[in-house]
């Protein structure tokens, strides 16, 4: 019997990092930057939060507010720096976005795993492994009455604050993109920078801000994963390929963060479906079920390119650096 009540919350928890990553990447892509470094940025966001929390927990007494704020700020700072690096290379120095993104992915994943694996040795502390249970418990704090509400509470109210924040961010991003002046101008930058430039929009600033904000949002995805989902335990490569899946989700949602909320839960569900489908002793089939999110993405990619509707296409100048004097 398929247990939806216990399946759904796990799908949501899988989906939240994807949602944050996808929202961040959507904002970035709307400015015309295809940031393939998102997987790396999510690692960096995660590990920076871990480093912040690690030192704070090492320092002794732990205060609830600081225990949340310090990792949060560290995470955002780390991912901001990655975003700045990406912008500096691709916008200021007009480097190839694909190559820069891949280099950042390599660097970021390496950065996360390196400090995750070597933090204890480097600081010379005497704990056996990084398990930030105290910090994590603050991140995982859900509403106190959630458990009393039975299935409803379990399905909708049992998450840590970052999960709700992710949904709020997605909704706000959608609103900003669709309804505000800034959003309109950002879309114009991604579609046709020459036009936006002629209209007096500062292309460089929009690209920097959108990409950096996008990076910070994506970084939060890494933080959510390690602090909430993984209960504060960092293990190398555990975050896996979720960053790439987040990029896939951007296409799946046809560049709409609000669509991303449900899609990310769907993706999260597909990601863990294998755990819920009774396959008996045949472990091998589970591996095939893990293919689902990727196959679904491929299908969406093909179908959307076949339908070729203008509104559903990637921003026109995605991946192309802008240089005003190049005519």
């Amino acid at each position: 019997m398929f247990d939806f009540v216990s399946f759904f919350p796990r799908a949501v928890m899988q989906g939240i990092p994807l949602l944050l990553g996808a929202t961040g990447e959507t904002l970035t892509e709307k400015s015309g930057n295809l940031n393939l470094g998102i997987p790396g940025i999510m690692y960096v966001g995660g590990i920076c939060g871990v480093i912040g929390a690690f030192f704070y927990e090492q320092s002794g007494n732990v205060n609830g507010i600081l225990a949340v704020l310090i990792p949060l700020l560290c995470c955002m700072l780390g991912s901001l720096l990655m975003g700045l690096l990406y912008c500096f290379l691709t916008v200021t120095l007009r480097a190839n976005q694909n190559v820069t993104g891949l280099a950042m992915a390599t660097f970021g994943v390496g950065f996360g795993n390196f400090f995750g694996g070597s933090l204890i040795k480097l600081t010379g502390s005497d704990v056996p492994s990084i398990a930030l249970s105290a910090t994590s418990s603050y991140f995982r704090q859900s509403l106190p009455f959630a458990e009393k509400l039975g299935a409803f509470g379990k399905m909708f109210l049992s998450y840590g604050f970052l999960a709700y924040l992710a949904i709020v961010i997605a909704l706000v991003s959608s609103y900003v993109l669709k309804r505000t002046r800034v959003g309109l101008q950002l879309r114009a930058v991604g579609e046709s920078p020459a036009t936006a430039d002629a209209a007096g929009i500062n292309i460089t600033r929009y690209k920097f801000v959108a990409t950096c904000v996008g990076s910070m949002i994506a970084g939060l995805g890494g933080l959510y994963y390690v602090m909430d989902y993984a209960c504060g335990v960092w293990s190398n490569d555990a975050f896996g390929d979720r960053g790439w899946l987040a990029i896939a989700l951007v296409i799946f949602t046809i560049w709409r963060p609000n669509v991303g909320i449900l899609s990310s839960i769907l993706f999260g569900g597909l990601y863990i479906l294998y755990l819920f489908i009774p396959t008996g002793t045949n472990l091998a089939v589970k591996e095939l079920y893990k293919m689902l999110p990727y196959l679904v993405t491929i299908v969406v990619l093909i179908v959307s390119s076949m339908r070729n509707k203008r509104e559903n296409q990637p921003p026109e100048s995605l991946g192309v650096p802008y240089f005003r004097e190049e005519r």
Partner: protein, 366 residues
């Protein structure tokens, strides 16, 4: 792009062609700078003096004969994948699916070794392995290409997703073939019979791989610069419209080129599975599909330059792994150093393509 806030003193303009030596001097300077930065970074983490860091890295790469051979093997495989992705890139087709194409090639090899290992003569088995691995890679690369050619589907994301499909396929087959049951891995295939193991030249385990890739480098160079197909690839990459105008069948070129690209990645899978590892895991490609993108781009798609750029990256990763062993650090240290070097080289391209000049501000009335 003049500085909008007021005085524009820094002017950026596109350069004409820079002589090759000047371009390489800039790249060389970037690499030196990057080495300095990574040396300082390493020193800060380990407390070793920077020169010691370099010594350890060189030790790690060339310290013993075995290490030199491992360096050569890693270089050969990375170069092979880089050569594979190059024709696609020249066509402006962003094949980031090298990873999956290697895996699927390796999987095909392993399948032949396991299923046919004791059924057909070894020479025939090896031929079957070569054909099936190249074919598997070609199909894996061809699928996104067909969609690109027909509906202009975004190839970067498609090939990326194909990586994970391949990974899961390998994971599935690993469990199907696992030895012993429940081990979660295949182990060395045909350990006793050595059926399907690529022949070893003399006592050198890695020599065959190196020779194959060396030959491939030369072939690829001439394919790209001298052959009609190579010429078509350049035209399509530069302008699809022009290609159509002169009667080149663009879709056909895209699919053909991607099948070559995927097929060569599959060959890399064969070299890994049949030549050295004699087993298959989901991580056998080791990120080479992505690294190869950077190797090819850094070398500006010139196969001979790629020997050098892939050497640089392999040297870094071998050197870094030495440091991590000495200091008990995490093996991902190499990725960080690779990242730093790449950032510097990527950034240096700007100074090759653009001219920075400080203009005297002649605008009046300020």
């Amino acid at each position: 792009m003049a500085n909008k806030s007021g005085r524009s003193v820094l002017h950026i303009s596109k350069r004409g062609a820079l002589p090759w030596y000047a371009a390489w001097a800039i790249r060389g300077a970037a690499i030196v700078l990057a080495l300095i930065v990574s040396g300082v970074f390493t020193a800060a983490l380990t407390g070793l003096n920077p020169l010691g860091v370099y010594a350890a890295m060189i030790q790690g790469a060339f310290g013993t004969e075995r290490k030199v051979w491992i360096l050569g093997q890693n270089l050969a495989i990375l170069l092979c994948v880089s050569l594979a992705v190059t024709p696609a890139f020249k066509m402006r087709f962003w094949n980031v699916g090298g990873e999956g194409q290697i895996l699927i090639g390796g999987l095909a090899t392993a399948a032949c070794m396991i299923l046919l290992g004791d059924k057909i003569p070894n020479w025939l088995l090896i031929i079957v392995m070569v054909v099936s691995s190249v074919l598997a890679g070609a199909i894996w690369g061809g699928i996104p290409a067909i969609c690109k050619a027909r509906w202009n589907t975004n190839e970067t994301l498609f090939t990326l997703m194909m990586n994970y499909v391949a990974t899961q396929l390998v994971a599935f087959m690993v469990i199907v073939w696992e030895v012993p049951k429940g081990a979660g891995k295949i182990g060395i295939i045909n350990q006793n019979t050595e059926a399907g193991w690529l022949p070893q030249i003399g006592s050198y385990k890695y020599l065959l791989n190196i020779l194959v890739v060396a030959a491939l480098t030369v072939v690829m160079y001439f394919y790209l610069t001298r052959s009609k197909q190579g010429y078509e690839i350049s035209v399509v990459g530069e302008s699809e419209r022009t290609a159509r105008y002169v009667g080149i069948k663009v879709g056909k070129v895209i699919v053909r080129t991607m099948m070559i690209s995927g097929g060569l990645c599959g060959l890399a899978g064969l070299l890994l599975v049949g030549g050295t590892d004699h087993t298959i895991t989901t991580t056998i490609a080791g990120g080479r599909g992505f690294t190869a993108v950077m190797v090819a781009w850094l070398a500006k798609f010139n196969p001979f330059t790629m020997v050098f750029t892939s050497f640089l990256l392999v040297f870094l990763s071998r050197g870094a792994s030495e440091i991590t062993t000495i200091y008990g650090l995490n093996h991902s240290f190499g990725d960080i150093l690779t990242g730093i070097i790449l950032f510097f080289i990527i950034g240096s391209e700007f100074f090759i393509n653009y001219r920075l000049s400080f203009l005297k501000n002649t605008g009046k009335g300020e």
